[in-house]
Subunit: 291 residues, 2 copies
């Protein structure tokens, strides 16, 4: 078994982007973050994205809005950033407070600045295989891992566990696209699947994104399969100061004995998400500079 | 084996729509067809759609444009129909002459009038499971067949052969949605799939949409599977006056001995497409009348 080091891959991407940005003459790429309220996880995520942008030389702009803003106030901010030619990417940190409609907010963003890939039009562009579209960052990160690690998906049977919009479904669409990065046979299974272990055992590549700790056990995995673990679950652990530890959707210790390649949690897919956000921002800059 | 009579199902839908339209007070639903050039197949398809609309009481408008129109002239016609409140659905007959960009033309249609479901935004709405979206008519017709024939997809393994935008990929997305019409485990396989027969044999439901005559043979089909044949292929047949006959992607005579249910070609999925177009037009009318 060989471990896939997502941290290393994401640092490589950050280093490459840093080099590309350094070469740019004139204004630098710019990403605007909108954070509504003070949800601690959101504060921490945005801080991390902000820091990575700065490191690369992408200008981060942070707009902190009150928990109580109205949909119209949020829209007005998005409209302002859409119109601002110096802003190339816009990210609205999810989740929004429950009185705001999240999908409408994502759809308000100019699709060409939607670097998170949540706009309905970018969902459609992934289906239509339009290279100008933005795929959401976690599934795009898994494709990137496969490409950089020499894991060809061509003709392989990829089994995706979980059909979420942000991960499972979008990754399935990317993996079945035509092109050297994809061309996979793709199965999507989920909580309603009958005989799930049997279905997963058919996978040359297994992507676990179902959100349940240690869900994928060794008996579900074919000998030699590539296992990509997207899960991030907290389980109680009294030996830790925090009282918990993070585990994936895969029973790592057992599955690693059967897998040919496997991503750990943490340090696997997780770090890729921010790196891909920055890659999308650079792409948005490129497209907008050319037009 | 029980045959699935798509002709009967589509007449039922037409009859139901006729009844619903008769009950409407005030203006009737209206669908506009744009046909560019005189491609004989396009002429015939549009004529058939026109006739079905008339039969139901949906007002058909036909715009025949010259083969040599420019993209801007086509856009101007679409814009005019988008702005016309008496028009609820707009269909641009595919294929367009090669100097016109088809996807841009589809994307010019108001997504709420895009009854063919080819607008990028409707592709995205299918991914996002937005009930206000329009799914393209052939895959929506297959879901309709399953519902009306009591074929539950819930937890079943649905194997789709072919990853076209218009059929395979969109059907896969519909079948994996959450909801009583769907909840299937879905596999998409295609020309690049290794061990395709083995993959197809896992299917409780097999949807053949690969565009090759008699591609699916009996050895690929599990005993008792439901087989849906989307293919329409011409094969030479000197016994016919035309010199050819139509066959599906499934080797019907052999596969029908193993399948529990099967659609014939012709008379299976084919007739559903126009019926679903009319259903989409009625839905568009409904949405636009409510707003």
């Amino acid at each position: 078994m060989q471990l896939i080091d997502g941290k290393k891959i994401s640092s490589d991407i950050v280093a490459e982007l840093t080099e590309s940005v350094a070469k740019l003459e004139g204004p630098k790429p710019c990403i605007a973050f909108i954070r509504v309220g003070e949800d601690p996880a959101s504060v921490s995520y945005v801080r991390q994205k902000n820091r990575t942008a700065e490191k690369i030389g992408i200008t981060p702009l942070l707009f902190e809005m009150s928990e109580s803003i109205t949909q119209d106030e949020l829209f007005a901010k998005v409209d302002e950033l859409n119109a601002d030619k110096s802003v190339h990417g816009i990210l609205i940190q999810s989740p929004l407070p429950s009185h705001l409609d999240e999908q409408s907010a994502f759809n308000r963003i100019d699709p060409n600045k939607d670097v998170d890939g949540f706009h309905v039009q970018n969902a459609g562009r992934v289906v239509q295989e339009d290279p100008a579209g933005f795929a959401s960052c976690t599934p795009a990160g898994i494709i990137e891992i496969c490409q950089r690690e020499g894991i060809s998906l061509e003709g392989k049977h990829v089994v995706v566990i979980g059909r979420s919009l942000i991960v499972g479904k979008t990754f399935a669409l990317l993996a079945m696209q035509k092109g050297p990065h994809a061309n996979a046979t793709v199965t999507v299974c989920h909580s309603r699947t009958k005989n799930l272990p049997e279905v997963v055992r058919a996978g040359d590549v297994v992507v676990a994104a179902i959100g349940r700790a240690n869900f994928v056990t060794a008996d579900m995995v074919k000998e030699g399969a590539v296992v990509i673990d997207v899960g991030i679950n907290r389980v109680e652990d009294s030996s830790k100061k925090s009282g918990y530890r993070l585990v994936g959707d895969v029973d790592f210790e057992a599955v690693k004995e059967k897998a040919s390649r496997i991503t750990p949690v943490p340090g696997g897919v997780g770090p890729m998400t921010v790196a891909m956000l920055m890659k999308n921002t650079f792409k948005a800059y490129d497209i907008q500079s050319a037009s």
